[in-house]
């Protein structure tokens, strides 16, 4: 029972790691959980299968400050401690090193077995595909197969080593994560502007939209009607204070921008009672 409950609790928490005072998500389960909550974030690392391109990025996942705040409000964020190997005892360190080396050795043996299989299969193919089927050539092939078994050596330098993206550690056990749940430090990002943005974010999220950052479009958020991988953004949300007066040139600029990229511009302001009012700008002709 308790295990089930702990698993439930742990399954609702997303583990965040701080890097240069910026929260990042590293593990696949965390990212999946995050996405299932309707939050998108942005990937900023290199994709392991195609590291030298900027089109598709890989882990870690970077969070918007509003997403982070939403997580902490829902009590779904867990701070993972920084791995501090020096804090551990020498004994534990030695154990870890032994484990790592044992793992390497096991991987080496597996790989060398696989390499041998590969070589044999290649030889068999070469044997069967060759045209001459004289007895002497078949004997030669058999002899080569036998020597292969004895003389084959898989060099250590040819071994493929896995470089893990996320850190493996004890903190991924459910009980530790549950313990850390209440401990998420909210970053010092208070200010009327941040509050306004957060309220708009929360309101739009509540209506089922997906939101990402829109710095390149001159706004605060890009609003998608569904998952960003499946839809184009419909709105560019610009967060303003209700009392704030906006220069007409700025309104013109943002309207122009929106019409050029075929998105509707939403001017969003949060009212004192907690709701948010929206004004949409669309470029229309004189007719």
């Amino acid at each position: 029972m308790e295990e089930a409950k702990e698993e439930e609790v742990s399954s609702s928490a997303v583990g965040l790691s701080l890097c240069d005072s910026v929260p990042l998500l590293w593990r696949m389960e965390d990212i999946k959980k995050f996405r299932s909550m309707g939050l998108v974030g942005s990937l900023v690392g290199a994709l392991p299968r195609a590291p030298r391109q900027n089109g598709r990025m890989g882990r870690p996942l970077l969070l918007l400050p509003e997403e982070e705040r939403l997580l902490s409000e829902k009590q779904a964020a867990a701070a993972l401690p920084v791995a501090n190997q020096r804090a551990e005892g020498v004994e534990e360190l030695r154990q870890k090193v032994e484990q790592y080396e044992a793992h390497l050795q096991q991987s080496y043996e597996e790989q060398s077995a696989l390499a041998l299989e590969d070589r044999k299969a290649a030889m068999l193919r070469a044997m069967t595909s060759s045209n001459t089927h004289t007895q002497s050539s078949e004997d030669a092939w058999k002899h080569r197969l036998e020597t292969l078994d004895q003389n084959f050596s898989f060099p250590q330098s040819a071994m493929a080593v896995q470089l893990s993206t996320a850190r493996a550690g004890l903190t991924y056990y459910p009980q530790d994560r549950a313990f850390l749940q209440a401990d998420w430090p909210t970053r010092q990002r208070d200010g009327p502007r941040c509050d306004a943005r957060y309220r708009v974010f929360r309101d739009l999220k509540g209506r089922g939209f997906y939101l990402t950052s829109a710095g390149k479009f001159g706004g605060d958020f890009l609003v998608y009607p569904g998952d960003p991988l499946r839809f184009h953004a419909h709105f560019i949300a610009v967060c303003l204070d209700l009392e704030e007066s906006m220069c007409l040139l700025d309104v013109l600029a943002v309207a122009r921008l929106g019409s050029n990229v075929k998105k509707t511009v939403l001017l969003c302001s949060s009212v004192k009672d907690g709701t948010v009012v929206y004004t949409s700008l669309q470029w229309s002709g004189m007719a």
Binding site: S17, L18, C19, D20, S21, V22, L24, W26, S42, L43, V44, G45, A46, P48, P51, R52, Q53, N54, M57, R59, P60, L62, L64, V82, A83, Q85, L93, K96, V97, Y100, V161, L163, S164, T165, A166, R167, A168, T212, S213, G215, K216
Partner: protein
């Protein structure tokens, strides 16, 4: 990548992290391999390389550029630029032409310009014009009203290093001036004969005053009858209508007493004054109400003003160029150039000991942060020498590149 120190090869943290992400490097700490998460948390911090800077670094490296950390001491100082030491690469060939490569923003120049204004003459101004076309790293002050000042500034600065050949010229001119003042010619008393006047002069000119002639020159009487016959002394005939009206076109509106006023003028000065007075009278009648209120016109059209100055009065924004006044700015800590980027196509030929001219300098900032002010932009541009500065703005994983360029609004001035 990396550097060597004490016989060992070292890698900078951002380079190590990039190679790890590419899968080319494994980093061990205390006999355990670091995961990429560990590497991010250990290598990236605000003291060494921030996450924003690493994102820009990684982005550029993945595109193929060669990216190094910026070292301010690697740029030649202003003094070294003035000396024009032979630099590697393309500048070595142009050494002869670049004799006058002096940065135009040296602060000592304005003080010198005051003393040298009287002796500024056409000769040095001409040379200055010629040099500017050759000079590549020029910061032309675009405000036209200070064009004169800048030319004197330039000549002032250039006099310093080029003393031995400009001083001759200045001395010659000075000696000329001195000669003239010594003899004290009074041009108002020397009368030049008017050969074209209608009054009948004698057909010959008397010999001039011997004191006006140089040396022992003796000039006799000059027969000018043949010259005078060549001068067209025919009266100019206007169009038939013109002749019919019997008045000049210009004097159409002038009847009655104005005609008498004109006739009472004895010379051109008085005539100009009369015209000016009439202009004023007419204008004042028409537009007096404009000058009575709080907001007055910028300029009274009756006052003569060169077109350049008029355009300056009308301008809303004071133009400035990026390098103007940059040497006086104090360096700020938060805005600094992070990386120097070299073109990717020379990666195979790239040598760390003798790098090519850099492509750009990159300054990293975030989208949430403030937009750089003009002061900051000026400071960074002056710090980076003649290499353009690019602002890499990071917005949650997206990197955008912006650059500020000098732009001069065209002013059509036909003199």
């Amino acid at each position: 990548m990396g550097f060597s120190a004490e016989g060992k090869r070292y890698l900078l943290p951002e380079e190590a992290l990039y190679l790890m992400e590419c899968g080319s490097l494994q980093v061990f700490y205390e006999d355990l391999a670091l995961s990429i998460q560990d590497a991010y948390e250990i290598f990236l911090s605000s003291e060494t390389v921030s996450l924003h800077q690493y994102q820009v670094f990684g982005h550029l490296k993945r595109l193929g550029y060669v990216v190094h950390r910026f070292d301010p001491s690697s740029l030649p100082s202003r003094y070294a630029q003035q000396l024009n030491l032979p630099q590697s690469g393309k500048n070595a060939g142009n050494q002869l032409k670049r004799k006058h490569d002096v940065s135009l923003t040296s602060t000592s120049a304005p003080s010198l310009s005051k003393t040298l204004v009287p002796t500024t003459d056409t000769m040095s101004a001409d040379e200055h014009m010629k040099d500017e076309s050759v000079d590549e790293s020029v910061a032309m002050t675009s405000s036209e009203s200070t064009a004169d000042e800048s030319s004197t500034t330039d000549s002032a600065v250039m006099v310093e290093p080029r003393k031995w050949w400009t001083s001759d010229i200045i001395e010659d001119k000075g000696s000329n001036h001195r000669n003239c003042s010594r003899s004290g010619w009074d041009f108002s008393s020397i009368l030049f004969p008017d050969l074209g006047s209608k009054e009948n002069l004698s057909g010959s000119l008397a010999s001039p005053d011997p004191s006006l002639l140089p040396g022992a020159l003796a000039v006799g009487v000059c027969d000018v009858a043949s010259w005078r016959s060549k001068i067209n002394q025919r009266k100019v005939k206007g169009s038939p209508e013109h002749r019919r009206r019997g008045v000049d076109n210009q004097r159409q509106g002038w009847h009655g007493k104005k005609d008498e006023e004109v006739q009472s003028c004895k010379n051109w000065t008085e005539f100009n004054d009369l015209m000016a007075r009439h202009q004023h009278r007419r204008q004042d009648e028409q537009a007096e109400h404009l000058w009575n209120r709080e907001v007055t016109p910028l300029h009274d059209p009756s006052q003569p003003l060169p077109t350049r100055e008029l355009l300056d009065i009308c301008s809303v924004i004071k133009p400035t160029c990026l390098l103007e006044g940059a040497s006086r700015l104090k360096p700020a800590h938060e805005w600094r150039i992070s990386f120097v980027v070299y073109q990717p196509d020379t990666a195979s030929e790239f040598k760390k000991s003798k790098p090519r001219k850099p492509y750009t300098h990159v300054c990293v900032c975030g989208f949430d942060g403030p937009v750089p002010e003009l002061q900051t932009v000026k400071l960074l541009t002056s710090q980076s020498g003649d290499v353009p500065v690019v602002f890499a703005v990071v917005d949650h994983g997206d990197v955008s590149f912006y650059t500020m360029k000098d732009f001069e609004l065209p002013t059509d001035v036909f003199l």
